[in-house]
Symmetry: C2
Subunit: 188 residues, 2 copies
Amino acid sequence: MKYCSECAAAVSLKVPDGDDRPRYVCDHCEIIHYQNPRVVVGCLPTVGDKVLLCRRAIEPRLGFWTIPAGFMENGETMLAGALRETREEADAKVKNESLYRLFDIPHINQVYVFFRGELDGDFGIGPESLESRLFSEDEIPWSELAFPVVTDILVDYFDDRRRNDYPIRLGKPGPLWAEHVNWNFDHS
Amino acid sequence: MKYCSECAAAVSLKVPDGDDRPRYVCDHCEIIHYQNPRVVVGCLPTVGDKVLLCRRAIEPRLGFWTIPAGFMENGETMLAGALRETREEADAKVKNESLYRLFDIPHINQVYVFFRGELDGDFGIGPESLESRLFSEDEIPWSELAFPVVTDILVDYFDDRRRNDYPIRLGKPGPLWAEHVNWNFDHS
């Protein structure tokens, strides 16, 4: 951020009175431009012992498999956003949705909120996807998953399904994705 | 938003190629300035059959009682933000924290994520509070609570405590707060 979005004057990074951290503050109109984490919402569509994944048609991680998800928009609820992303990426509807998994990813200022739900009818391929497909646990392309959160949700989902208990969990993404895709974070 | 924060040129509200809703787009450098919901994080500190509330020293709802909460900051987890707000507003620490309650408030583009936790040691009065106090259920000042989410969490908490079961719930704020404080949303 270089300029004030309200008056076009330059902004400076400084700690406002009464605050405890630097913010972008307009040198002219003194508006404080707060920057806050963004919420990514998504949904894992399930049918029987299978889950629906999409192969990404866009960067980052083009060609890798993911769960329908994307940035939450103003004016929508978390569930509405998750269902919108499911329509957009997999041309799919779900029913009996439940809140399922929350992740903190503080180093990129993101919060993830995932639901699960039963696939309701057919599915297709949205404009941001190359392919959509149902996978049982032994068919999951573990080394071709797009993001750490995808690996974690799928591992948990199949475990939870075996126990028929689906607790809502909160945490940071774990190391499983990097191990499966042979990703070295030191060189990412 | 009137000006581009990267180049100071004017922005126009228009639907970018491949998008489905209007965004602020720079007329000069064509950067798209996305606007997304913000996350409010908070924590209900409990001790025995009591909860810790703070009386607000700032607008909105100055003088009314609330649970420690505020905007999540970049670089922190949801829990870290909730604990920070608890320190800042009630000069308090908590232990054994659990995710407890999520709210969607789409008409103001906010998501609330509340934890509960046991008060750990003393408490005090932060700079944004006039007063902090422990309340048992029959002492809660129902007509003087600051926001709908506060009423909903307190009603749920005392119910959950009776059953000794604290499910994680997601929903929009309910009508109880408006009834208790005699608030008419039509004239708000």
